[in-house]
């Protein structure tokens, strides 16, 4: 069993390591630092080393926690389950795409039948369905997602390794922004419960939920890029480009988090141990930050699973609007192009992200709230 002190040291170390990596990644050390430092060859290994260190730290902490809490079997079970779910999703998508009338090479300009037959032979499309399916699944198991039909000669895995980091970065910043805005706003509203402050904060939150990103984005672009001319209106190459898309993607989740935090704080404030803390004569500030906050953030944490899903969905529009070279654009295009391997690969990837995010949230949940027993 782990005691509280070990726990806080562990989370502290992991948190600091992640924070450092994040800071460096935000300011794009890998690229821009090369200009300042005379030894560009020194940077990439350092960067990779940092990433590996992060990975080892996070993974090690999870592993240690899982072992010490007898959760190894639980994690194993969940991972196996997740893989099965992904297999079912792969099968489902595969079947739907093949059953769908029309093929990837039916264009408005009809190809000569010989050419079409040749193309289909190249991509193994004329084989019996079952065989295609078998090949595809075996391919996935070997880590081969196939070759894109549209981007000739490029593997789906290549496209993913190229675009995933960008989408990941965008999602991560949006996640951080949504927590950074949502939690303080929720606490503020709860601490001023039933006042004009509370009402206006909650009005802001409901507006945030109702704001479509394609309304916020043009307004922000017009203000910050065209009028004030302080932020670039599009693209993704540098810290200044990250701000607008991440912020706009973060608004909706931030609003949801604010509402959740407020409700949770209000519930905790009414509990007995808070009355005890107040009765002991602790100052209001200490009660709020030490006792209320710690307990009320647990429900907020459980929301991170759906939050990741929401950010994944929202990122399509944001990537489209800000011309961010992420996966969203590829998914939309692959679907209209009938680029089967790319559709399948991206669907699987998105689902995998969601499934594993949920697993991590469950582990975090039990980590922060020892009353929760995972089995």
């Amino acid at each position: 069993m782990i005691n509280e002190k070990q726990k806080s040291i562990m989370s502290g170390v992991v948190f600091t390591a992640l924070l450092i990596t994040l800071l460096i990644s935000f300011f794009d050390a890998q690229h821009s630092m090369e200009v300042f430092i005379d030894h560009p060859e020194w940077w990439p290994p350092f960067w990779n080393g940092l990433l590996i260190l992060d990975g080892v730290l996070v993974f090690g902490t999870f592993a240690w926690y899982a072992i010490s809490q007898n959760l190894v079997f639980f994690v194993f079970k969940r991972v196996v389950e997740a893989c099965l779910v992904l297999l079912v999703i792969a099968t489902l998508t595969f079947t739907l795409l093949r059953v769908m009338p029309g093929g990837p090479f039916d264009q408005e300009k009809t190809l000569p039948p010989e050419v079409k037959a040749n193309i289909e032979a190249k991509y193994n499309l004329n084989a019996p369905l079952l065989e295609q399916y078998k090949d595809y699944i075996f391919g996935i198991l070997q880590g081969d997602l196939g070759e894109s039909y549209k981007y000739l000669g490029r593997n789906v895995s290549d496209i993913i390794t190229e675009t995933l980091p960008v989408s990941f970065q965008l999602g991560l910043y949006a996640l951080i922004i949504s927590f950074a805005i949502g939690i303080p706003l929720g606490i503020f509203a709860a601490s001023k419960h039933n006042t004009a402050w509370d009402n206006s904060a909650m009005f802001m939150a409901v507006s945030g939920v109702s704001l479509p990103s394609f309304l916020v984005a043009p307004i922000f672009i017009i203000i910050f890029a065209f009028w004030l001319d302080i932020l670039p209106p599009a693209f993704w190459d540098g810290p200044s480009h990250y701000i607008l898309p991440s912020f706009i993607l973060g608004i909706r989740p931030a609003a949801v988090i604010a509402r959740l935090t407020r409700a949770s704080v209000l519930e905790v404030i009414r509990s007995d141990y808070i009355r005890t803390a107040k009765a002991k004569g602790l100052p209001q500030r200490v009660v709020l930050y030490r006792h209320v906050l710690k307990n009320s953030l647990i429900p907020v944490l459980t929301f991170s699973g759906p939050l990741v899903a929401g950010i994944l969905s929202g990122s399509f529009i944001i990537e489209l609007i800000f011309v961010v070279p992420g996966m969203g654009k590829h998914l939309i295009q692959s679907v209209t192009n009938r680029d089967y391997p790319l559709i399948l690969g991206l669907t699987l990837l998105f689902s995998a992200l969601l499934v594993f995010a949920n697993l991590i949230v469950d582990l975090l949940y039990s980590y922060f709230d020892p009353r929760i027993k995972l089995s």
Binding site: V85, L86, V88, I89, L92, T93, L96, M100, P101, G102, V206, S207, V209, S210, L211, P212, F214, L215, P218, I219, I221, I222, F226, R259, R262, A263, L266, A309, L312, S313, G314, F316, I317, L320, I321, L331, I332, V335, T336, I343, L346, T347, F350, S351, L354, V355
Partner: protein
């Protein structure tokens, strides 16, 4: 309650207040919530606008006035005109019809699927339940937007209708419903599982009522509250998803007018003619705001314990 002049009857009235049903209680609580009442009126207004679009809009939605392309708002064209000289105000009014119809039909269809699925799963329980919920879990593991795009493309490929307008319209309604029922099924199942334990259900069963009757007559009315609340939140998210789809080019296409179509085509001329994207998006924003406030109000009214959640 009737006002009475005599003091005696007033006293009596205090003593023998006519009993109010749960729904009346909820309605009275809802009426006290100003934001919710205002939102309800606004939604009513939008619905009326949507129904009587032909009578209200000053111009037809697809009529092009080629001499008046991309005009700023003026007395003749209240919200200006778009790149093909169509009156934006009229297009937004017709867009209300499309967007609201899609959102409401979608929510009702997904409610029908979700309620039946959830009720069967929760009521039967056991292996059937875990199997049915497994399916829901799998669908839940695909991000909504991805699932939506996939389903939409499949509906586009299947030739359901010859008429392109109907095809686009039904395609979007069906795709959104097929994605939306999952949430409803989960909630309905959870509620059915709770209500199943209640003594009145046990009593009905002991009296030999048939299970179908129990679900319809005893279980459903008691879980109606949460379902109505969820439905109210489902409508704005469907409006949003419809406009998302139109925005990325997989939804309705011009000349048909929905708020998403308008926002998407306004986007292309955003820099020089911001009014083309601001007004339609603002219509979406206000409608979603109204539904969210109404949903919050309904939740507080129907389930006072959940207040502030």
């Amino acid at each position: 309650m009737t006002m009475s002049n005599s003091a005696k009857s007033e006293a009596l009235e205090v003593q023998y207040k006519p009993s109010r049903s749960l729904w009346e209680d909820a309605f009275i609580r809802l009426k006290k919530n100003k934001a919710a009442v205002l939102s309800a009126y606004f939604i009513l207004f939008i619905c009326i606008v949507a129904i009587f679009a032909e009578n209200i809009s000053p111009y037809p939605f697809d009529e092009q006035y080629m001499d008046k392309i991309l005009q700023e708002p003026s007395m003749k064209h209240w919200l200006g005109t778009d790149a093909l000289g169509r009156d934006l105000f009229s297009r937004i009014i017709y867009g209300a019809r499309m967007s609201m119809a899609v959102a409401i039909y979608t929510s009702l269809i997904s409610l029908a699927i979700g309620a039946i699925y959830g009720a069967v799963s929760g009521w039967v329980g056991g292996r059937v339940d875990s199997f049915m919920m497994r399916i829901v879990d799998i669908l839940y593991s695909i991000p909504t937007m991805v699932l939506l795009i996939l389903v939409k493309v499949i509906f586009d490929a299947v030739q359901l209708f010859d008429d392109p307008e109907r095809k686009a319209y039904f395609g979007i309604v069906l795709a959104l419903s097929l994605v939306g029922w999952v949430t409803l099924a989960r909630v309905v199942r959870g509620q059915v599982l709770q209500v199943k334990q209640m003594t009145y259900v046990e009593a009905a069963r002991a009296l030999g009522a048939n299970p179908f009757w129990i679900v319809v007559k005893h279980v459903m009315p008691n879980i109606l509250g949460p379902i109505i609340v969820l439905l109210t939140f489902q409508i704005p998210s469907n409006i949003l998803f419809e406009s998302f789809l139109s925005f990325i080019g997989l939804g309705l296409q011009p000349p048909f007018s929905s708020w998403g179509v308008l926002a998407s085509s306004g986007w292309q001329t955003m820099r020089s003619f911001p009014h083309l994207i601001i007004y339609p998006s603002f219509a979406i924003f206000l409608t979603m705001l109204a539904f969210n406030f109404l949903g919050d109000g309904l939740r507080d009214a129907l389930d006072p314990q959940m207040k502030g959640r």
